[in-house]
Amino acid sequence: MGQWRLSIEGMSLTNSPMGSSFAFPGPQGARPATSWENKRWCQSLLWVPRLLFQRQCQRPSEREESTDCLCAAHSEGATQPPPEKRPMDTVRIAVVGAGVMGLSTAVCISKMVPGCSITVISDKFTPETTSDVAAGMLIPPTYPDTPIQKQKQWFKETFDHLFAIVNSAEAEDAGVILVSGWQIFQSIPTEEVPYWADVVLGFRKMTKDELKKFPQHVFGHAFTTLKCEGPAYLPWLQKRVKGNGGLILTRRIEDLWELHPSFDIVVNCSGLGSRQLAGDSKIFPVRGQVLKVQAPWVKHFIRDSSGLTYIYPGISNVTLGGTRQKGDWNLSPDAEISKEILSRCCALEPSLRGAYDLREKVGLRPTRPGVRLEKELLAQDSRRLPVVHHYGHGSGGIAMHWGTALEATRLVNECVQVLRTPAPKSKL
């Protein structure tokens, strides 16, 4: 290994346990157009314009192919192909977003992709993310643009992952609990058994006696499922990210190019932020308002099949909901809506009239016809930035998160393989 010579001009440094350091541009941070070809910056050293790292090779006889080592000692200005990674080199991955998608993807990558460093970058962290507002019930929605088999796979993978946690001593720390209850219908549905029926536990149709409790409803499902609560689960994931050597950084990213060239791959888990970061007009908010109340005697969930009215008992409160307001970006709770939610829920569960300590919360579901789970190679001039998009789960974030995180991780792995494969020399 060569010696590191380091000169810093003004920017703050953060040290990671992996030994690499980097700094970020300030808010004005426009990068000058330095290119790999001309500057020969070595990997894992950052960044322009203020910070310079130079690695010097100690023994020229040991140096590899000049294309592999990009330090100043070895090349004099000839045009070089895009950066490659030797198999041993650390791939630097930035995960944008620290909701359930960002954090779970970071954990998956740290477990499944060898030789990479992970940095989670977000402007919001628990308890201020959308994932913190979600009740976290594992009752999946249906995405019109995704094949049912795929959705079932994602849901099953998530369920199995959380089921293992709920059966362990860590369940309470991780915010995962087992809860039984009913999904009730005001008219008999065309599909009496949903695709996820054999993923949850003990699924069956409600008996006539059970339906007597809900005079406005004529049909129902009874089953046991899981509830995964953001305010406990996200910190639990964060601990895992850090425990596996990952870094967590607070910063608002306005443009994915800010991450170049400090990072080799970007995983975009920015939810609604992708409207700006990925220029995706297909994603829009579906506003959800909920009440989190004290009603500890409520032990079952009750969900109207419309998805508009639900009662979800959690670890330390009961979530009453809700609303589905398309295109509404307003994060402030509306008192009229709260009254109306309470009234709808009391109609299903009259004992809720005794609920106390009511708190209003609003979340904007990052909604899209289908989850965006795909690679994109950003290109600008001679710069290249591989991005894996992982966002747009709408109302199914918690329910699908682990399955989609695993898939995102596979895509990241593909990007890593590409980076580690030596490119054929271009004829110039």
Binding site: N167, S168, A169, E170, A171, E172, D173, I177, L178, V179, S180, L201, G202, R204, M206, T207, D209, E210, K213, A222, T224, A295, P296, W297, V298, K299, H300, P313, I315, S316, C346, P350, S351, R353, G354
Partner: protein
């Protein structure tokens, strides 16, 4: 005085208070004057009922007296009918679902069609309980003793029923106070008023913890050891009850460490997250165990007066489960007494 009835209920647990309420509800309007009084040396939170976890669930095997099965069902149906009311939680009443676990296949219980949604456990559900290979899932009800007794006390007070802190030493002294009918709801201490070799204490000890993430009851069974000698976890309206002690003939009311350890180890094995649970307290109580519930009339002669006693005790570990059916039955017997004495203004409506 014609048309006046003085009823003394001895005992202020769930049996005493619910019987008092049932009688008053049914007969106040058909009698010229009805005076119901409750005499007890223990009131909530010091009764046996206060220690009970409160889950509606009869024993697994059929009772020797088939009437008991009927009273269990009556109680469940009555409580279920109150579930839609906004007051349910104030009464201590809420639906709860959960698991009964066994080490081998067993026949379905006789009450499987009384509870809601009874079914066998699937293999994936059994994976959650590695020590058990068979089980049931069903939805039942919690009727929390303390809350329910408070609620019954309020209802009785509204109706003008009076409560007296009094350790009754004999039926005779109650008769001397002017009682026409005595309802004997003295539970495990009935033997002090009238020897009953069939009645024994079935001592239980429980630990109450704060573990609000647990939403299901989990009751394990070891048929060789007997009922409630195997760990159980039963959520109440706020706290969770952990138990698994049933000691016949043990009159010790203080909680002890060996039993604490038995309960704690057994329940933590069943539910590892209990390690994070905060212990709120520990209590002991005596299930009034008897081969059958004693629910019958008896005439006692003291001097010149004939006093009717209706016994209603010996409900073992299913007092809350059976209480309303028994209260109705006592009310029926009471009605017969009124008929015999020609005290009814109008025939009692069949409620």
């Amino acid at each position: 005085m014609a048309g006046t009835m003085r009823v003394v209920v001895i005992g202020a647990g769930v049996i005493g208070l619910s019987t008092a309420l049932c009688i008053h509800e049914r007969y106040r309007s058909v009698l010229k004057s009805l005076d119901v009084m409750v005499y007890a040396d223990r009131f909530t939170p010091l009764t046996t009922t206060d220690v009970a976890a409160g889950l509606w669930q009869p024993y697994l095997s059929e009772p020797s007296n088939p009437q008991e099965a009927h009273w269990n069902q009556q109680t469940f149906n009555y409580l279920l009918s109150l579930i839609g009311s906004p007051n349910a939680a104030n009464m201590g009443l809420a639906p709860v679902s959960g698991y009964n676990l066994f080490r081998e296949a067993v026949p379905d219980p006789y009450w499987k069609d009384i509870v809601l949604g009874f079914r066998k456990l699937t293999l994936r559900e059994l994976d959650m309980f590695p020590d058990y290979s068979y089980g049931w899932f069903n939805t039942s009800l919690i009727l929390e003793g303390r809350k329910y007794l408070q609620w019954l006390t309020e209802r009785l007070t509204e109706r003008g029923v009076k409560f007296f802190l009094w350790k009754v030493e004999s039926f005779e002294e109650v008769v001397r106070e002017g009682a026409d009918v005595i309802i004997n709801c003295t539970g495990v201490w009935a033997g002090a008023l009238q020897p009953d070799p069939l009645l024994q204490p079935g001592r239980g000890q429980i630990i109450k913890v704060d573990a609000p993430w647990l939403k299901h009851f989990v009751i394990t069974h070891d048929p060789e050891r007997g009922i409630y000698k195997s760990p159980y976890i039963i959520p109440g309206l706020q706290a969770i009850t952990l138990g698994g002690i049933f000691q016949l003939g043990n009159w010790s009311e203080t909680s002890n460490i060996p039993d604490h350890n038995t309960i704690w180890e057994g329940c933590c094995r069943l539910e590892p997250t209990l390690k994070d649970a905060k212990i709120i307290g520990e209590w002991s109580g005596f299930r009034p165990v008897r081969p059958q519930v004693r629910l019958e009339r008896e005439q006692l002669r003291f001097g010149s007066s004939n006093t009717e006693v209706i016994h209603n005790y010996g409900h073992g570990g299913f007092g809350l489960t059976i209480h309303w059916g028994c209260a109705q039955e006592v009310a029926k017997l009471f009605g017969k007494i009124l008929e015999e004495r020609n005290l009814l203004r109008i025939p009692p409506s069949h409620l």
